[in-house]
């Protein structure tokens, strides 16, 4: 392999990689929990609850933790958000509950809500009965498409209400983004699968794997066979750069690489570029950049066409990247990727600036960066083709499934939630959609 296209496995020893991919935010110790929980002021009408898409009663669960009632705290969390354990790990709390915490005002240090939530859910006492019970069987049967966070929360809520649920999942495992998309160091030890086992313990939920909408099953078929359908299929398409060289070897979708990484049993086997460029500015860009570093890439650069302050990734995420040795190049717009048959070598960008109207424009200045791998992380798109051609739900202005406040689509028996509808594409938001859609379905049936 020529030095120009330096992509190889085993850049680091197994032990180094395992260490790099260990739990990024380890659990709080008992003493830390005491200190952290004591800081909660038990606010009235608490801003953190409002900031949580699933309306978890945060002050109440933290108080329960502080009194030594972690089990009660876990029940409080899980009754609002059945995936409270993974949300505690993957939520960008710095832009949600912790940003709203009143402790920021004078102390610039919020209560560590995310880590406390993790503590609580981890301390659910499994020697006690399962904290949820099923209502009597309603005889209704609901189809859920996609076993991601939206589908799972919808399924659990419906099952609690006595409905029978079948989840149709295209992949071989359930969990959706939690299983295939979240950075490994945020959800370690196969947490997603353990959490799903807990979700399914409610009973009345069957998951059928390898069932992709539009390929193995159709919406019409599901509507015919069930009393209602919930669509939680996320986004399957990745945005393209639309520049020359995009099809050369070494240009990769960040999402699919992360997907492979999440399923790889020996991380050292993954091919890793020596010099990696990440195009994008969101969480996926940070995730792929940091993970590339952790796999042994020498040089990782996130390139963003706007100023750093406009990045979608939170400051916390950006700091995480910096801490891991990732470089940032901002105000640079991709123009072409250069290389030969064996792979890419350089990428060219135009320097950008804002014109007097605040519009981003490209200047003549050209920036050239050497690279062995380019990751595209410029967002995903909803693909509507699996919905079929006739009798399909209306799409919205972003091309996603349009829903009303009850997460009902234009088809009265079809509901949708998660990333396939308009939103901020957060796990916690998807859980909320699933929950609310389930309640709407329950009331409708």
């Amino acid at each position: 392999m020529s030095i120009a296209h330096d992509i190889q496995s085993n850049r680091l020893l197994d032990a180094e990689i395992n260490d790099n991919f260990s739990d990024m935010t380890p659990p709080l110790t008992e003493k830390q929990v005491l200190v952290a929980s004591e800081r909660c002021l038990f606010c009235y009408d608490a801003p953190c609850i409002d900031a949580c898409p699933t309306d978890i009663d945060i002050p109440l669960f933290i108080r329960k933790i502080n009194t030594g009632n972690a089990h009660g705290a876990a029940k409080e969390i899980l009754s609002a958000n059945i995936l409270g354990g993974s949300c505690a790990r993957v939520c960008p709390t710095e832009t949600l509950c912790e940003q709203a915490c009143v402790r920021n005002t004078c102390e610039e240090a919020p209560v560590e809500i995310g880590r406390l939530q993790r503590y609580a859910v981890d301390h659910l006492d499994r020697s006690l009965p399962y904290p949820f019970t099923r209502e009597n069987d309603t005889g209704k049967h609901i189809a859920i498409i996609g076993a991601g966070p939206a589908g799972l929360s919808c399924a659990h809520q419906l099952a609690r209400n006595g409905h029978q649920v079948t989840i149709y999942e295209a992949a071989a495992k359930s969990g959706g983004l939690n299983e295939y998309g979240i950075a490994l160091y945020k959800l370690v030890d196969d947490y997603t699968q353990k959490e799903i086992e807990f979700v399914l313990e409610i009973g009345g939920i069957e998951i059928k794997y390898g069932q992709a909408l539009g390929r193995d099953i159709s919406l019409k078929q599901l509507r015919d066979q069930h009393d209602a359908v919930f669509i939680g299929i996320g986004m399957s398409n990745v945005n393209a750069l639309n520049i020359p060289g995009e099809n050369l070897a070494g240009v990769e979708d960040a999402v699919s690489y992360i997907r492979d990484l999440r399923q790889e049993s020996s991380l050292a086997n993954l091919p890793v570029g020596r010099r990696v460029i990440v195009i994008g500015a969101g969480m996926t860009a940070i995730d792929i950049a940091v993970q590339s570093k952790k796999l042994g890439a020498e040089q990782v650069t996130i390139v963003y066409r706007r100023a750093q302050s406009a990045m979608g990734a939170s400051l916390h995420e950006q700091e995480l990247a910096l801490k891991n040795g990732v470089n940032f190049v901002c105000n640079a717009q991709p123009t072409k990727i250069l290389g030969d048959k064996s792979g890419i070598t350089t990428m060219e960008f135009n320097r950008t600036e804002l014109d007097e109207n605040g519009k981003l424009i490209a200047t003549d200045e050209i920036i050239t960066l050497e690279c062995d791998v380019v990751f595209k992380a410029i967002g995903q798109k909803f693909s509507s083709s699996p919905l079929g051609s006739d009798d399909k739900p209306i799409l919205d202005h972003r091309g996603r499934i349009s829903v009303n406040e009850n997460y009902q689509t234009s088809l009265s028996d079809v509901f949708a939630g998660g990333d396939c509808i308009n939103g901020n594409d957060l796990v916690v938001e998807a859980v909320d959609h699933g929950n609310k859609a389930a309640l709407a379905i329950h009331h409708q049936l």
């Binding site: 003493k31 038990f42 009235y44 009408d45 801003p47 402790r103």
Partner: protein, 426 residues
């Protein structure tokens, strides 16, 4: 000691480099501890209570705790008895330490059966040590009362008077009577001490208490092989109780000239200043030292000395009892006085604790306006009774202030209030 010269003081004729003594307790149990205390800068110690031989035997597992939310110790209790070392060992150590530390005060705490012979026997040996005074332990609430000593004596004013008189008769040293708070009216035992000829009283001793119950074993803490007994409660949680009792003795006409050594949850210089302002001439500390070690004496001295200097007090007696004229009976309070809460919006962090407290449990005098991102809490002045609850619950020091309102009305107490059917005509 050039440093903190303004703290030098005299208590019942005993000179001390500062008003801080260690109370009779484990920290003063033996020469080793006392020397460490003196090295750290403590003005004096009240040596852990001596009794007749054979010395009592202590159990294992002796202290129980009452924690705050974050494991901070609000208070703790103990079920220890008086010294478990022989009388002679203690007397020898006291003699030596006093000889080595002539500028430090050593008071010897004593507890023997309520019989004249017992007191007559023990006193000469104590006096021979060169100690500066004796303190009669009539306060210990656990263990010893079951043997007719400690609080069992302190709860019977006649016994206090009788024993105090014996001590004055058989010993030339100043006598301090240590009082128990486990009574209904602390003025009665203080009066008895006064009648018996006591030079001073010290208070409070510890309070009857069970700090917690182990819900697994159903044993009170501290648990001794699965069983517990009530112990003596101490620490900052008892400070308000002690302050009130000190003030009652200082205000009481029969005991108002009786010198007081203040004890009870004193943890910092501010606590000490408060005790002194309410009637104490010096203070004794125990729990704070047991939690943090003897080094806290530095802050006690430094803080008090600097505060005095700023206030223009040249010595302790300058501000001693200064709060007594302002400590009165409820019936003398001004019913025309009005204060209301004011919320300083710049300092408010929007936690809403004041609202929850006032709305749920008080006078519905706080208004909540704005949406969740723009919440504002303000006081409905006409509903506010000035109870202070919102200020107390507020986590921010300057967000809620209580403001005096000029009602334009003259002072009016309940004694003269028109609504009082038994009012006195002015």
């Amino acid at each position: 000691m050039k440093k903190n010269a303004n703290l030098a003081c005299e208590f019942i004729g005993i000179k001390s480099i500062n008003p801080f003594w260690l109370a009779s307790a484990p920290p003063t149990d033996k020469a080793y501890n006392v020397i460490r205390a003196f090295e750290a800068g403590w003005g004096g110690v009240v040596w852990k209570t001596l009794g007749e031989d054979p010395a009592p035997i202590n159990v294992s597992s002796r202290y129980g705790v009452h924690y705050g939310q974050n494991r901070q110790v609000l208070g703790f209790n103990n079920i220890e008895l008086i010294t478990d070392r022989s009388l002679q060992i203690n007397l020898d150590e006291i003699t030596q330490v006093k000889k080595d530390w002539p500028d430090r005060v050593i008071i010897v705490s004593l507890m023997v059966p309520c019989e004249e012979e017992a007191w007559k026997n023990i006193l000469p040996g104590v006096e021979a040590t060169g100690a500066d005074g004796i303190e009669l332990n009539f306060g210990c609430p656990h263990g010893m009362p079951e043997r007719g000593m400690g609080a069992a004596v302190g709860q019977v004013p006649e016994y206090i008077e009788m024993v105090t008189r014996w001590c004055k008769q058989y010993c030339s040293l100043p006598v301090i009577v240590k009082l128990t708070p486990n009574i209904t009216d602390v003025r009665k035992p203080a009066e008895a001490a006064w009648r018996g000829g006591a030079d001073a009283v010290s208070l409070i001793n510890t309070i009857n208490s069970i700090t917690s119950v182990n819900l697994e074993t159903m044993s009170p803490e501290p648990s001794v092989d699965g069983k517990g007994t009530h112990g003596g409660y101490c620490g900052s949680a008892v400070k308000p109780i002690a302050l009130s009792m000190v003030s009652e003795i200082a205000r009481h006409p029969e005991t108002s000239t009786l010198p007081i050594s203040g004890i009870g949850g004193i943890s910092n210089w501010r606590d000490a200043a408060e005790f002194i302002s309410l009637g104490a001439s010096n203070v004794q500390v125990c729990t704070a030292a047991m939690l943090y070690g003897f080094k806290i004496i530095d802050d006690l001295c430094d803080g008090l000395s600097d505060w005095m200097e700023k206030k223009g007090y040249d010595n302790i007696s300058d501000f001693s009892r200064m709060a007594i004229p302002n400590t009165t009976d409820w019936k003398h309070l001004n019913m025309n006085y009005k204060r209301i809460a004011h919320i300083n919006q710049d300092a408010c962090i929007g936690c809403g604790r004041c609202f929850a407290a006032c709305e749920d449990t008080s006078h519905q005098a706080i208004l909540k306006t704005g949406d969740i991102d723009n919440r504002e809490y303000s006081v409905i002045e006409e509903e506010c009774v000035g109870c202070n609850l919102c200020e107390i619950t507020c986590p921010e020091p300057n967000a809620i202030v209580m403001k005096d309102i000029d009602t334009g009305k003259p002072h009016l107490s309940w004694l003269h209030h028109p609504a009082n059917p038994y009012r006195e005509e002015p």
